[in-house]
């Protein structure tokens, strides 16, 4: 996982609630056994006018001019502004992979689907919960100011405008924050506790022998 420290980027607004992971990356692209190659099919059904299939030349496909991410002013956006319950539905980690590979490093929303939220953080995609009024204001700012950019500073736990004004601060668990800042391998970290796991296992199975019978 790439470390996340400070990120400044263009903000794109996706103004609908309950954006599910099926919409972020439709199932036909889940047949791949790789971790990469999902960016061009991120939001496929909204982004293109035809029905996407794996292996298509996406550059040649007709784009939906009405879809917000296709508007020239949001080209190169790396911060996605979203509404409540973003990433609900299927547990597919292909959703954060697709968003990252599209170019997003941050998603700001009032709430997230729980599984999506962990998947995003496990991949260094910063999914941050901000209060509704802040999100509302950011949507308004985004519409009012073409080229609206934000800076997200993980160490300071702040979201600010490019002139340095702090828009909001956010919560993140200290252990999670450390892992993100350093891009640590979660498995290696857990394996440092291998002895504790073995001890637990011994007790657990002694009390519940039917689990190993």
């Amino acid at each position: 996982m790439e470390p996340f420290t400070v990120h400044t980027g263009l903000v794109a607004p996706l103004d609908r609630a309950n954006v599910d992971t099926d919409a972020i990356i439709p199932k036909q692209f889940l047949k791949s056994i790789k971790r990469t190659g999902y960016g061009e099919n991120c939001f496929d059904e909204w982004r293109y006018l035809d029905v996407g299939q794996p292996g298509m030349d996406n550059a040649a496909r007709p784009r939906n001019p009405d879809f917000v991410l296709n508007q020239p002013r949001y080209a190169g956006a790396s911060i996605l502004l979203a509404r409540q319950n973003f990433g609900c539905g299927s547990s597919r980690e292909h959703a954060p992979w697709a968003l990252l590979q599209y170019g997003f490093r941050v998603v700001l929303a009032p709430s997230f689907g729980d599984i999506f939220h962990s998947n995003a953080l496990n991949n260094g995609l910063l999914a941050l919960r901000l209060p509704d009024p802040v999100i509302d204001r950011l949507f308004a700012d985004c519409a009012a100011f073409p080229g609206f950019r934000l800076t997200v500073d993980l160490a300071a736990q702040t979201v600010s405008t490019t002139d340095g004004a702090v828009v909001a601060s956010f919560d993140v668990e200290p252990s999670r924050k450390d892992r993100l800042l350093h891009g640590w391998d979660d498995i290696a970290l857990t394996l440092k506790h291998a002895d504790a796991i073995r001890d637990f296992e011994a007790q657990h199975f002694a009390a519940r022998p039917w689990l190993v019978a």
């Binding site: 309950n18 547990s91 597919r92 729980d114 962990s118 498995i187």
Partner: protein
């Protein structure tokens, strides 16, 4: 000390160590694996030179990508085939318990786990699949995880988790005749919303839940995720005990006695405090039908399609208008006047034997309406299929014009060839009516098996209570 909730008991009994910030390393007893969310995890494990921590915890089978065509021999789509073959290879190389294509025990992982007794009370159960919540029906802490976490569990048998809040949903009063667990859970989601359970583990309780079979409880917990909760739970009781007894992976003999003694403690203590409680009068429910593109967009069969103009909240209003546009529906249309093109009876929500019996009871002696292009029944596992055939249910369905298929996820998410064409409307017993879920441009209405069967017979939605 106040009493503990069932969730607290399950979580606390699996904590290996905890951090001061409240995140804990929890031990995972059962890891279910399917072909779509595992290949990158197996690969990651191999690249890092790691071995699975406890192979015996894993049970694997392909389900999402498998064809349902009777008597199929191989998967034609080369990409899907590669994915299933990758699981074959990984499962065999590591010597996992594996139900490949051709094994009668294979099916949808959430149907097969409980059916085999691989899901037991008191366990932590994970799978790279959001509907892992299903297994919470057994008083097990079960939740879906992403692929990085799949790899993490393979490598360490643990996950880093923070304790959820608890939400008690109490359904008071028995469900009326013709109203099922599916209707109950849809009504609950309609009430609390698809984000209503976010950050919570839901315990379903109350008279209606106690009266449900294990099949019904699984339907309920299956859709906890559609209410935003990663985990759903039902307390252990005699119904749980009767279901598990004698299953292949269930404890035997002396171990059974020991296990049962422990399992009986898997209930929320009297006086246990939940972060939130919602009560619902289940004795007054009617069959439910979704009209939109989120499971919370649901009304009863006696209602009409709602009118966005009456919704005060702007984001919701736009969401409703967009959903109606996608669904090709006009506000105020009676639900019973909505005509359908296809019927899908299946998925990990409703493909168990009891579901098929309920649908068959409606279908018996009737015929699928002429305007219905395809009505299909996809049993949840090879064993469910065999059981249904031994009861003659397949004949009832076939005679009525339903197709009788091989087990798998099928049109629940349409990764295989079973799908809706753009604009087609489906009465579906699955769990998600998201845009494009059952095929690009397809329109899904979520209903119970009996309601799906009834819609197939009438050609439009109809109150099943008038047919049975």
């Amino acid at each position: 000390m106040p009493g503990q909730t069932l969730y607290d008991k399950l979580f606390d009994s699996h904590v290996v160590r905890s951090d001061p910030d409240g995140s804990a390393l929890i031990y995972i007893d059962r890891h279910l694996v399917h072909e779509v969310t595992s290949p990158q995890a197996f690969e990651g494990l191999k690249l890092a030179g790691r071995a699975p921590w406890r192979r015996a915890s894993m049970v694997a089978m392909p389900d999402h990508n498998t064809p349902t065509t009777p008597g199929f021999r191989e998967i034609e789509d080369p990409i899907s085939r590669t994915q299933v073959e990758t699981l074959d290879q990984n499962a065999r190389a590591l010597g996992l318990t594996y139900f490949p294509i051709g094994d009668v025990r294979r099916g949808i992982v959430h149907v097969v786990g409980p059916e085999q007794g691989a899901t037991l009370p008191g366990m932590t159960v994970v799978c790279g699949d959001s509907h892992t919540s299903t297994h919470g029906a057994f008083a097990a802490l079960a939740f879906g995880i992403g692929t990085s976490e799949v790899e993490h569990v393979m490598a360490t048998q643990c996950l880093v988790q923070k304790k959820s809040k608890t939400l008690l949903i109490r359904a008071d009063g028995r469900l009326p005749r013709g109203v099922t667990a599916k209707d109950l859970v849809l009504a609950i989601i309609g009430r609390i919303g698809t984000a209503g359970g976010t950050g919570h583990a839901i315990e379903f309780a109350g008279e209606a839940v106690r009266a449900l079979s294990m099949e019904g409880r699984m339907t309920l917990c299956n859709m906890a995720i559609e209410a935003g909760a990663r985990a759903g739970l039902v307390a252990y009781d005699e119904t749980t005990e009767r279901y598990i007894a004698g299953r292949p992976f269930a404890p035997k003999g002396e171990y059974w006695q020991q296990a049962v003694a422990y399992w009986r403690t898997l209930v929320s203590d009297p006086g246990a405090v939940f972060d939130r409680t919602v009560t619902i009068d289940s004795s007054a429910l009617a069959p439910q039908v979704t009209w939109g593109t989120s499971p919370e967009m649901v009304v009863s069969i006696e209602d009409r399609v709602p009118d966005p103009d009456r919704e005060p909240d702007a984001t919701r209003r736009e969401g409703m208008a967009r959903a109606l546009d996608y669904m090709g529906l006009r506000p105020s249309t009676p639900i019973s006047e909505i005509k359908i093109d296809k019927v899908f009876i299946g998925s990990c929500t409703n493909s168990r034997i009891e579901d098929l019996r309920a649908a068959a009871a409606v279908v018996r002696g009737r015929r699928v309406a002429d305007n219905v292009k395809l009505a299909m029944v996809v049993p949840g596992s090879g064993l469910v299929k065999a059981q249904a055939e031994s009861e003659g249910l397949d004949q009832i369905f076939r005679t009525a014009g339903f197709e009788w298929r091989e087990p798998g996820c099928s049109m629940c998410l349409a990764m295989n060839d079973d799908r809706l064409e753009p604009g087609e409307r489906c009465a579906s017993t699955s769990n998600r009516n998201f845009e494009g879920r059952q095929g690009a441009g397809g329109r899904t209405h979520l209903v119970s098996p009996a309601m799906a069967a009834a819609a197939g017979i009438a050609g439009h939605f109809v109150d099943v209570r008038r047919l049975v």
